[in-house]
Symmetry: C2
Subunit: 405 residues, 2 copies
């Protein structure tokens, strides 16, 4: 059995790195504190005698040798990067629970048939550099390495520069090693398990995601002299689209997820009618067809808002991740592990994207969820109890051992 106290201590220790005023964690991808967190993980892993390799985009592979080194490893892990004002569990739990699996086997003197591989994926969150899950995506061949390295943050720093700045541009070739199976433990980040008082979510799929960049263009004008009817107010255009699309969705499609997470007026000034507004759009649906129709409704509202307010808009779909169904065997392994430990569980889809989405394209994959307080995530107040974390870690450990023999 895993050591609940040891797992909790590592979680709390990691949370000190990039700690935020509101009690959360702020370790944006490839920031200095992401580098410090990664080095802490490597130190812990090396203390167990594991070997560490880093690939060309900073993915971190921690290997515990098996009896049969020639076999593909059973892999597990998640990510150490967070939102700007993120929680202490999102991603981190999956990595440190993986470390706890390695520590448990080490303490028990158990060597598995297959090698084990704990992975920390670079930039899962997609907050500093979009899109999300990009490095597991490059690993799986969905994105090009050059595309990943050239993405920029708000200050124009490329992901490649940021990688070098914290010293995590490795030399291991991308896409290696292949995994026999991949398991990812994560907090649910939603309210379902808590509402139903269940201990484990057996995740059988992930909803579809589309991200857009939109730019509204009007005309700068003086706030005091320009009559409302002669204005081309880019912020009015953006506001109308946001207001009307959300109102309609709330009435007609309660399962749709629509988020405008970033909105910037270009060269803002109190007494200037905004000439240009840039904003991001995050659309999700459990079902690919309903996501497609949500995207069509968004574009329709965009067109209507520009017409109504006399501004123009351009848009680009910068990311699309179709809905995913996980491997039936991996799902069954997680479910059996939960059942045998006497934990309450249900099958469920994930609303958030995860590295498992892309890994699932190249290896049999599934995920384990645990509840989190109020379903709150991407928020400093994010919380799962030591017992909840331990239950998830135990299921991960059992599934991994089962898969690795």
């Amino acid at each position: 059995s895993i050591d609940s106290q040891r797992l909790w201590s590592s979680l709390m220790e990691m949370a000190e790195i990039g700690k935020t005023p509101g009690g959360g964690s702020g370790r944006l991808a490839l920031s200095e504190s992401d580098g410090v967190g990664r080095r802490q993980l490597i130190e812990w892993a090396e203390a167990l005698g594991c070997s560490v390799t880093i690939d060309e985009i900073g993915n971190l592979f921690i290997r515990r040798e098996g009896k049969r080194p020639e076999l593909d490893p059973v892999a597990f892990g998640s990510h150490l990067d967070t939102q700007p004002l993120g929680g202490r569990f999102d991603g981190v739990l999956g990595v440190l629970a993986g470390l706890e699996v390695l520590r448990t086997l080490d303490a028990a003197g158990i060597v598995t048939e297959r090698p084990l591989l704990l992975v920390d994926w670079t930039n899962e969150e997609g907050s500093r550099f979009s899109p999300a899950m990009i490095s597991s995506g490059v690993y799986a061949g969905v994105f090009d390495k050059q595309y990943m390295l050239s993405r920029t943050d708000r200050d124009g720093v490329t992901q490649g520069e940021a990688l070098r700045a914290i010293g995590f541009e490795g030399s291991a070739p991308i896409g290696e090693p292949r995994f026999a199976r991949f398991f990812e433990l994560h907090i649910e980040q939603g309210p379902v398990l808590e509402d139903e008082a269940l201990e484990i979510g057996v995740v059988d799929g992930v909803q579809g995601i589309s991200w857009y960049d939109v730019c509204f263009s009007g005309q700068a004008a003086h706030s005091g002299t320009t009559p409302l009817r002669l204005r081309h107010d880019a912020l009015r255009g953006a506001s109308r689209m946001i207001d009307r699309l959300l109102d309609e969705a709330l009435e007609q499609d309660p399962d749709a997820k629509i988020t405008f997470g970033e909105l910037d007026i270009v060269s803002p000034s109190r007494n200037v009618v905004p000439a240009q507004v840039r904003l991001t759009v995050d659309l999700r649906h459990l079902d690919d067809q309903r996501l497609a129709s949500l995207e069509a409704r968004f574009l329709d509202h965009l067109a209507r808002a520009t017409e109504h307010t006399g501004v123009e808009a351009t848009y680009e779909r910068i990311w699309h991740s179709p809905a995913v169904r996980f491997d039936a065997d991996c799902v069954a392994m997680v479910e059996d592990s939960a059942r045998q430990r006497g934990l309450s569980f249900r099958r469920m889809p994930s609303g958030a994207g995860h590295d498992s989405v892309y890994v699932a394209r190249v290896a049999p994959t599934s995920m384990i969820f645990i509840p989190c307080l109020g379903g709150i995530s991407h928020n400093e107040a994010e919380y799962s109890s030591p017992e909840q974390c331990a239950a998830g870690c135990q299921v991960l450990c059992d599934a991994v051992v089962r898969a690795a023999g």
Copy 2:
């Protein structure tokens, strides 16, 4: 007669300082380029043998002695600071036309009875530090000096620090000297004169202005897992208020001016539901009572938007400048000057705020407008022709000479 070519050359030379990519000027108040512009003006003034004093908040007074130095001077001027992406004429014309008046008198060897005083007021625009017209306001006793010095920009720099950084914290006491009269030449910044093909606006008043800071507060949440109906989306609250207030005003009150010039999501991230949105509100009306009812409608929409979207909001009215009527004698002097030069003119109110608003509280004051292309201002494309600038400068010169004897 003033020298149209010389005036135009100084305008174009000043426009080189802080030149923007789109052909405008960017000399934010108390920025480095504001300092460079001020030093250029001082150099030009000293070449005419004028004396320069700077008061404790950076207002610049350029004095040309009169035959009777003991009399209060006739003053004129405007401001050299601009919007971030501003035009080449807004404010600058009033200062450099004043310089052209001094040069014309110098070249003609004319000495007036009263001393003349060309003024460059600190931070008229109110873009970097709010509110606008603050230093003419301190001069007139409307604001406290400490209040002015303690206002901060978006980076937390105080106006006092910025003043010292560019070396324009003077020692002359505030509120001195008193003016016998004050005249300000400015571009109209609106479409009326151009529409009516008139050369001069005889400005008899300025509309009322109220500025608010508003903060919407909701709850940060994951964009993929949080159902729309459980969200407290601060941006949705802000968008609804903007959309509905503007739509209503366009239908019911076409004279109202409503502008949301700055809007910031606090700690923005693509996949996080915005927890906090800060925005600025600029409300104007020609009539104080209609401004008051516009403010009431804004607050009503604010309340309705928060209720509809499940977020909270706080607001503060940070500035209120009531509608102003200028001195009848000064207005008549401007009108007579235009008539005697054979220029077409009309009386009109100003939609923009100007330093004259506050100076009018302590000295007889009026303003002169010239047309600008398409009524466009607070925009890099702002334009008035050399002939239009010269006509305004001539009226200013005549009014000043008339007032100074």
